[in-house]
Symmetry: C2
Subunit: 324 residues, 2 copies
């Protein structure tokens, strides 16, 4: 397949996801009224649809030949993701999401909490039609997600956060749902236990890289994030470049970095970046991203070459390109 054909196929999948999401939101809005309309807005506001597309591709790579069979699982992952975004935005006091006003700003916090719950119900309802094994993988990673969010809250402005703490949070919050989606899809496709694990690990590695890229983009600034530059720093989130720099730097530089993190404002960006560069911390994150993406690719080696594998490699490239 040529590169532009890959792009076309990818775009087709995204449109398939969008069409399905639109039709569910429309249908549910007629039944459930405002809660579905409000929640639907966040679901339909865009986003890369990387989670549902991964579910569909993992299903096909694992040998599934009836895409319809896995679509509810794919949509389930997007609904649950959207639900967690709404609750995250409340907790982070973020006022924008996907380039729009966050829901809790639009309709107030009380309705936003409920809107998230509604999306969880939708997501679980869609996911529950599968075999117990699939449901267990998905439900387990939703629980891990909550556990990781607790840990993230505990580490806000905790300057002693270790890279291990950080990776544990990333595995729970971002990579776990990627991995569970890929494994769940493989289970739906009746793949061998081995192939289910390969796809699980593929999702995990890709998800870790994805979050590392997100964290870099937050520091460097990128309008694709749909939220202001430096949001993580303002929220006191300990991301890897910062954790790394706090480990590497000593004396007055470390003291200054701590001060900057504790009292961050936009005017401190340049100084922050130069401290992170001095510690080689942005570079360190970039190397880790490449490592995790290479590991992700290595799990694909277990599968025969095919169009679907090309598309999954394209997803890996997309994640890589976001930070370049």
């Amino acid at each position: 397949m040529e590169d532009n054909q890959v792009l076309d196929r990818f775009e087709e999948m995204r449109e398939l996801v969008n069409a399905n999401l639109e039709s569910i939101v429309e249908e549910q809005s007629a039944v459930f009224g405002e809660v579905a309309i409000v929640s639907g807005q966040i679901v339909l506001a865009g986003g890369k649809r990387i989670r549902p597309i991964l579910v569909m591709l993992a299903y096909q790579l694992a040998g599934g030949d009836d895409l319809e069979e896995v679509i509810p699982l794919a949509l389930s992952s997007e609904f649950i993701h959207s639900a967690s975004l709404i609750h995250d935005d409340i907790n982070d006091d973020s006022s924008t999401r996907r380039g729009q006003e966050a829901i809790h700003v639009k309709v107030g916090q009380a309705k936003a909490i409920i809107a998230g719950d509604w999306l969880f119900s939708q997501g679980f309802g869609l996911g529950a039609r599968y075999d117990e094994e699939v449901v267990e993988v998905m439900a387990h990673y939703c629980s891990i997600l909550a556990s990781a969010e607790f840990s993230q809250i505990d580490h806000v402005l905790d300057l002693s956060t270790s890279p291990e703490d950080y990776l544990e949070i990333v595995r729970g919050k971002t990579a776990g749902p990627f991995a569970a989606g890929c494994k769940g899809a493989a289970l739906v496709a009746n793949a061998s236990a081995e192939n289910c694990e390969y796809l699980f690990e593929f999702g995990m590695e890709l998800g870790i890289a994805f979050q590392l890229v997100d964290d870099l983009l937050d520091i460097r600034g990128d309008e694709r994030m749909g939220k202001p530059r430096g949001s993580d720093i303002y929220e006191g989130k300990m991301t890897l470049p910062i954790i790394h720099a706090l480990t590497i730097l000593h004396g007055p530089q470390r003291v200054r970095l701590s001060e900057i993190i504790r009292n961050f404002e936009d005017s401190l960006f340049d100084e922050l970046i130069s401290l992170l560069n001095f510690g080689g911390s942005l570079n360190y994150s970039e190397i880790l991203i490449r490592n995790h993406l290479e590991r992700a690719l290595s799990y694909l080696d277990h599968f025969e070459d095919c169009e679907t594998k090309q598309l999954l490699k394209h997803v890996v490239k997309m994640v890589e390109k976001r930070h370049s």
Copy 2:
């Protein structure tokens, strides 16, 4: 069965529920850490366990003969109920629940939102092992619950709220989950479509009565509520006695009632009660409660007399007695 045997059997069921909840919370705390511990505290803090017991009894009345089969569904209803309590308490800014400090007071709002999400995951995970039909009933009523909560928020301090608006909210928020639990249990027991509907309607009528009683207890004050008297009024919730009185009263009495509701404080309780009594509004609620409980009982008439039926009648009596 003698009355005290009924009580003993009921207590046995409650203990069965509690033992199962305790073992899940203990198991999950080992896996998920603080989020499970914190969420588990609210689950284990007590409560009547009326929802899971109803699920088990409905299953048995519908002909189910392997109680183990329905226990995950019963527990699922309690987890989802606990999740919605946590989020409600945030939204209502309630500081106590089941006689304890509310979770958001204990661990902060951010963790409380996530704790609720974790409980939803647990609840859905437990419920998802059943056939699609069962899952659909449960997921549908979780969505209706969210929709009803939106409506309740919209009607805060809305003095034009009609009894129909109120009943719609009660059906969604309280009675729907009761009804769905009973119907879901009947489906698990492979009951006839007719018997599933009878149990659904039984749950709906019982649930409406349950909420009407709750609302009366809030006005009259009762330490069994586990929260301060008048909480609903402070939160601007339009409950039936108030809606009824606003409809019946005219002139200066209606004006005064509106003032009291808008600027409520404890010293106004006596005046509020005397206005509600003047309108016959507490009495009206009591009559409605009896009507709904009688209707609930009439749905049990479709089933043969048996111990389980006696236990369900006991639950009806429990609901009735709470307000007497």
